[in-house]
Amino acid sequence: MAIVTVNEDVCKGCGLCVDACPKKIMALDSSRINKKGYHTASCIRMEECIGCAFCAIMCPDVAITVEK
């Protein structure tokens, strides 16, 4: 298992990580917004994460850290 951490303060909710994830376990959380007013992304099934870091590579705001 790997750990995906999204820096919610800088995430702009563009969703590019959601599409990039091969396991389809990244999602925008429409129930909450960050201080900039965006629905932020997060990993919704962390146990399935393979740590490929595609989400982080695709993130235009360098908001994602991946550990494995």
């Binding site: 790997a2 800088v10 702009k12 563009c14 590019l16 695709m58 235009p60 705001d61 360098v62 991946v66």
Partner: protein
């Protein structure tokens, strides 16, 4: 547990001001990582353009100068002549480099100026609100080509990489894209190679990066990536147009 991916120290803490889904941020990261991995970042000197990347001096964790519109290659020339051992780079958009700054980029290239230019091509003027750029595709609607770019009226897109690769001065010219993960990895390799050849004193290096502008294209970030893939790449084929270290020296990208 090991860190697989974390923000490079060559990027400052300050969050990017770019619009959601704009791939400028990805390109910033690739440049910063390349500088860091080559061990030339701490003493690098960057030149920011005019355009969306005007605040680049707030993002790269090295000495930076802000240039007038299109003049970054001239400013970088001045810096490089004073600091010949340092990595010097310009980060320029298509309006900056391919319109108002054509003289400066062509002559920096033909002089073989030992700098690296990151040329971000998103086929539009982003900062000023989506006007037609020299790289705007035929038929593309912008705020100053509301009926679509009419080539009979305002000509054809400038193909910068192809044009500059005809010169003797450049050591390395490549066009890459950041619309998906495999291409981002290729883009980083190209940027790294450009810096490496600069430090080896081979000559002028330029990496043209196809980028998005979801806001002014009127598309979602996802649609914008698709547009790069389906509309821009056919017009701006990816590849290496010049590499003085390659054997044989024929440009692989030129044939695409």
């Amino acid at each position: 547990m090991a860190v697989v991916f974390a923000k490079t120290k060559m990027l400052c803490e300050k969050p990017f001001h770019y619009c959601p889904g704009c791939t400028h941020g990805i390109i910033h990261r690739l440049v910063a990582e390349a500088l860091d991995e080559l061990g030339i970042g701490e003493t690098a000197i960057g030149v920011a353009p005019v355009g969306c990347a005007v605040f680049a001096y707030d993002y790269f964790a090295c000495d930076m100068m802000e240039a007038a519109h299109g003049r970054a290659p001239a400013v970088a020339t001045g810096i490089k002549r004073v600091c010949p051992d340092k990595a010097v780079f310009t980060y320029q958009g298509d309006g900056d480099l391919a319109s108002i700054g054509t003289a400066e980029i062509i002559h920096a290239a033909t002089r073989g100026e030992k700098i690296t230019t990151i040329f971000v091509n998103n086929a539009i003027y982003g900062m000023t609100g989506g006007q037609m750029a020299p790289t705007t595709l035929p038929g593309q609607v912008t705020t100053t080509s509301p009926y679509g770019r009419d080539t009979s009226h305002c000509g054809w897109p400038v193909k910068v990489s192809e044009m500059l690769s005809t010169l003797t001065g450049p050591a390395y010219i490549a066009r890459v894209s950041v619309h998906d993960v495999p291409n981002i990895k290729k883009a980083k390799a190209a940027i790294k190679k450009a810096f490496q050849l600069q430090m080896e004193g081979k000559g002028f290096t330029l990496v043209e990066v196809l980028s998005t502008c979801p806001t002014n294209w009127g598309k979602t970030p996802q649609e914008a990536l698709m547009w790069v893939k389906e509309s821009m790449i056919p017009a701006y084929p990816l590849g290496v147009f010049k590499d003085v270290t390659a054997q044989p020296a024929t440009p692989e990208g030129g044939a695409q």
